[in-house]
Amino acid sequence: MHVLLIEDDDQIAAAIAVALAREDIGIERVGTAEAGLHRAGGTDIDVIIMDWMLPGLSGIDAVERLRDAGIEKPVLMLSALGRAEHRVEGLDRGADDYLAKPFEPVELVARLRALYRRTSVQARQPVLIHGDIELNVRARTAHRAGRHLGLSPKEFELLKYLMENVGEIVTREMLLRHVWGLNFDPQTNVIDVNVVRLRRKLEDGFDSGCLATVRGCGYRLATSE
């Protein structure tokens, strides 16, 4: 994965570079939206990180221009404006995801990987299979080792999202947004409790665990068989 970072703040750019380098993600940085637009069309660019407030053309306007120019590459909007309304506006105006500063490096990486995966695995498969877990997207049924898992509709969505991002860290915020459609953080640990329930249904009566908690940031559906 190769990322184009459009960010005018050197210190933040450096921190992002360190975080991505650690994950073996290639990065290229420009300091203005104009320069970013110039570079965004390059075939080697997989994902774009765009800061909202840039000198000159703002990041959010740049995203609109990008879309107008027919460039559909995934854009992660980065902003020091954290309010829920900005999030909604960012997504409405063409960004694919939105992350407020300050953020955890692991959260940024997880979002980037999810964006990259979404574009590279374009085909919507009717059946998702991971190890002995089988998810029929059309019939909305889930089985593990041939045994039916009685999941509620939301638990099904949760498992589906985890399977779509198998092997990757999925953060609480990502689950809130993609599974529950919420754009704010509830004050209580609703996500954790719901994941724990799913894990119980997924693992009860089986020897092997498969849904791991990544301390402090989220969950990961293990790739190992």
Partner: protein, 446 residues
């Protein structure tokens, strides 16, 4: 309800009042006209009677009482109509009738001539009686029925004119009233739209140059001013957010770098704590800015119509597990298809904040129930210790935490109140005996 509404409209009241005044004026005019016409007709009739009497008196002078009686008989014979127009009566001093068609004696006294009205059979007469030489009394009368007929005609035509005038006035005032009502309603709608977050709403005063147009102009100027203030307020809060967050982000990246290069577990714990503090400050900013944004009327926009029941059911499912984890007996009573207009994400947040509150503060073992009914009326009630009466308003204020040591900034319920207000709803806490009940319902209409 409709009648009260109609009566409460200034335009309708004005129209009705002017119709009443007009009716009174037409009636007064009719009364005056009838009195005038009546008076002059009566005078005419009396004049005719006097001329008649003069002629008859002449004939008496020439031929005596017998001649007079003959003349009277001529005249009464001549009037062949069913109801005679003229009446005569000639009596001797002893009261014996010599001639005339007036059978009933009319009270006459003294030597003077006397005029008056008397009812004979089914006719009213205007008469004059005169004492003649030799003690004879001559009474000449004329039927008043032609006068009555004219009076009736005057009344009828005034009634006709009055009815036509009322009809016209009704029509005219209906047109003006509905026009006025429409213009006021337009102004009303513009203000409501603005209040609901459509900051581009203006009345765009029409061609008229009247008071209402001037008022509309002032309203527009005021809305311009308010919209400008809101925009400035938003820009300022965005700037503050940006300028305050950026150094915190820098601080955070420094701490991250320090964590990367540190191996001392004690230092690591402090560094983690420092980062957690930064998170807390940032989330406080966000909560305050969200609140300010909502208060400035920013959340609604033009609004959409959405299904509150669906949102509540989804959130209930999300919170079910948390509530059970917290040892609460959580249940819902959600009426189907409770539709409302507004911003669904804001209403989602409202319910989430109420449920967060319940999960955080209701002790284990107690009941919590979420109810959504038509209205919309949203209740979150519990069987916990409840909220002291003195604190029930305070819970909705910023930075007010009733339970010590709770997490969060004490802004959750403040946001609930603001979001509710933006949707024309009120939020209040009441005694559920036992426990607390949070009620979100339409504001009572004034």
């Amino acid at each position: 309800m409709l009648r009260r509404d109609l009566w409460s409209s200034i335009a309708v009241r004005q129209a009705l009042l002017s119709i009443v005044v007009m009716l009174a004026a037409v009636t007064a005019l009719a009364v005056a006209t009838v009195a005038t016409v009546d008076g002059s007709l009566r005078a005419d009739l009396l004049h005719t009677i006097d001329t008649d009497i003069a002629g008859l008196t002449d004939s008496m002078v020439k031929g005596g009482a017998s001649e007079l009686a003959a003349r009277i008989t001529d005249r009464t014979d001549f009037t062949g109509a069913r109801q005679p127009a003229a009446y005569y009566r000639l009596t001797t001093s002893a009261g014996v009738r010599l001639a005339g068609n007036l059978a009933v004696p009319v009270a006459v006294d003294g030597a003077h001539s006397l005029a008056g009205e008397v009812v004979v059979a089914d006719d009213t007469l205007l008469f004059r009686s005169t004492r003649l030489r030799g003690g004879y009394t001559l009474i000449v009368g004329r039927s008043m029925s032609p006068v009555a007929a004219i009076r009736r005609r005057v009344w009828t035509s005034f009634a006709g004119v009055g009815a036509a005038a009322v009809a016209l006035a009704l029509l005219a005032s209906t047109v003006t009233a509905s026009r006025l009502a429409r213009r006021v309603a337009h102004l009303d709608r513009v203000l409501a739209q603005f209040a609901h977050g459509d900051h581009a709403a203006r009345s765009a005063a029409a061609l008229e140059r009247d008071e209402l147009a001037r008022l509309a102009g002032h309203v527009d100027a005021h809305l311009d001013w308010t919209a400008r203030l809101i925009a400035v307020q938003r820009a300022i809060s965005d700037n503050i957010a940006h300028e305050l967050r950026t150094p915190l982000v820098h601080l955070d990246t420094r701490l991250l770098a320090a964590i990367d290069h540190n191996s001392d577990p004690v230092v690591a714990r402090e560094l983690d704590g420092a980062r957690a503090d930064i998170r807390s400050i940032v989330s406080l900013f966000d909560a305050l800015l969200d609140l300010a944004f909502a208060e400035a009327g920013g959340i609604i926009g033009t609004g959409t119509i959405f299904d509150m029941s669906e949102i509540a059911a989804d959130l209930a499912e999300l919170y079910q597990a948390s509530a059970e984890e917290a040892g609460l007996d959580f249940s819902t009573r959600i009426a189907p298809a409770v539709m409302m207009r507004g911003e669904p994400t804001a209403m989602t947040r409202l319910i989430a904040n109420l449920l967060d509150n319940a999960v955080k503060y209701v002790p284990p073992g107690e009941r919590v129930r979420l109810t959504v009914a038509q209205g919309p009326r949203i209740l979150v009630e519990d069987s916990g210790p409840g909220i002291a009466a003195a604190d029930r308003d305070r819970v909705f204020m910023r930075f007010q935490r009733l339970a010590p040591g709770g997490q969060g900034h004490g802004l959750g319920l403040a946001l609930v109140k603001v979001i509710a207000a933006q949707h024309g709803l009120v939020a209040r806490a009441e005694d559920a005996a036992p426990g607390a009940r949070f009620v979100i319902e339409p504001a009572a209409r004034l």
